[in-house]
């Protein structure tokens, strides 16, 4: 079973398409990074997946059924919204008690242990906690539900580096303990490289890329060669798509997707880093199908 399956998923707000024709599978057990610039549709996608929004067209299932279809589904899916909402007048201890009361399955001990070990005071009202402490508390509460699928919307955005590390540490402890499938959205990828094994790139409401990070890094390469060679790049053996192209002087640098070994000796071949891969896909203006259009003039690449 897949944790999430989407087919032709689209969402329109008035005249604006926030999501267009997104189709993907997210297998169980993955820790997925949902990456894209602000306004790319990440929040919309997550809200549809938890059942807070209905799609304009297309379909989606979470854990094999319609999002938020019944109590059982609600208890199996955890969601932490962007602003880590907590009851401001309750203490951490009161929030834990509230969670224990409202959830059929509840592991308060895990939450308490982890929060104590990183020094989050449970006797203070949540309004008086720092941003990092509130994020930790919201995450611990979400994990205490023991969800099978946990969705986190920009959980790191407002955290300093130490708080990020601690937050991701708590999350990974949860994953190691309970095997929960995780999707976390972010506009940065650097923080996620250590924790995620799956990558989804969203830009302009369209899904640009979806797969395990290992596979994606395997099938993409950076090629460096003479600019003149660049004009015939569609003939490069092993290349199925040029994702990004930069020209400086006589040198052309390409980020390409491959379907086998590069067989053209005119190009030097390098591995691509996760960060460069993400930037290459975010840098392309239009959707991936444009690759089938006639070759753009060399030099049309995004300048660095």
């Amino acid at each position: 079973m897949n944790a999430i399956e989407a087919r032709g998923l689209s969402k329109r707000y008035r005249k604006q398409w926030a999501l267009q024709d997104c189709s993907f599978d997210l297998p169980m057990g993955r820790v997925a990074a949902l990456v894209g610039p602000n306004g790319a549709g990440k929040t919309t996608l997550l809200h549809i997946a938890v059942g807070l929004l209905a799609p304009t067209s297309g379909s989606i299932t979470t854990l094999g059924d319609r999002p938020a279809i019944d109590e059982d589904m609600l208890s199996r899916v955890g969601f932490v919204a962007q602003d880590t909402p907590l009851y401001r007048n309750l203490t951490g201890e009161e929030m834990l008690a509230y969670g224990a009361h409202t959830n059929s399955e509840w592991d308060g001990d895990f939450a308490r242990d982890r929060l104590r070990s990183i020094g989050i005071p449970l006797d203070r009202k949540t309004a008086t906690l720092s941003g990092g402490q509130r994020a930790q508390l919201a995450l611990a509460l979400a994990l205490a539900k023991r969800p099978q699928l946990l969705l986190l919307d920009e959980p790191l955005a407002s955290l300093d580096p130490l708080a990020r590390r601690e937050f991701l540490g708590t999350l990974m402890e949860g994953v190691a303990t309970d095997d929960v499938t995780v999707v976390l959205s972010s506009h940065l990828v650097a923080d996620l490289e250590r924790v995620c094994d799956h990558l989804m790139i969203l830009a302009n409401g369209r899904l640009q890329l979806n797969g395990t990070i290992e596979d994606l890094l395997d099938e993409h390469r950076v090629l460096v060669g003479l600019r003149a060679t660049g004009t015939k790049r569609r003939a490069i053996g092993g290349v199925v798509d040029v994702v990004e192209e930069n020209v400086t002087g006589r040198q052309a640098t390409l980020v390409v997707r491959t379907d086998g070994p590069i067989v053209d000796p005119k190009w030097e071949e390098y591995e691509v880093s996760l960060e460069d891969l993400v930037l290459a896909y975010l840098g392309r203006r239009s959707n991936p199908h444009d690759a089938d259009e006639p070759v753009r003039a060399v030099g049309a690449g995004r300048p660095r």
Partner: protein, 129 residues
């Protein structure tokens, strides 16, 4: 028990770094046969890394016969690693220092030395295997 560290910029895959640190600790005696490796949950909690990274490192060490996973209990060191004796270690270190001094006197800089070392290491290994 040992504590793992990760160097993001080393270019070495994180799981290989973890496996290397275990081997290093065994060689230096921080870890002895029968000792338990840090639990996956604790490693991922402190380093904030994907559990699969730790599992992969432990599987690699298991394949080498260095450690053994006991389901539901943990992963334990099976045997030691024989490094050179302390005396041989010191002698090798001295010889290397002498060689380095000669190299500097001959006008090589650190980068050139590293390059020469890497290629020679590779060639020697190929010949040995």
């Amino acid at each position: 028990m040992i504590e793992f560290r990760l160097d993001q910029r080393s270019g070495v895959a994180p799981y290989l770094q973890l496996a290397q640190q275990v081997r290093h600790s065994i060689r230096l005696g921080y870890l002895r046969p029968g000792d338990q490796l840090p639990r996956v949950k604790d490693v991922v909690g402190s380093l904030a890394i994907n559990p699969n990274t730790v599992l992969k490192a432990y599987r690699e060490l298991e394949r080498e016969g260095l450690v053994e996973g006991r389901p539901g209990v943990g992963t334990f060191v099976l045997r030691g690693l024989d490094g050179p004796s302390p005396r041989a270690h010191v002698a090798l270190q001295r010889a290397l220092e002498r060689w380095l001094r000669t190299a500097f006197e001959a006008g090589l800089d650190a980068e050139a030395i590293r390059g020469m070392f890497e290629t020679t290491l590779q060639d020697t290994r190929e010949v040995a295997s």
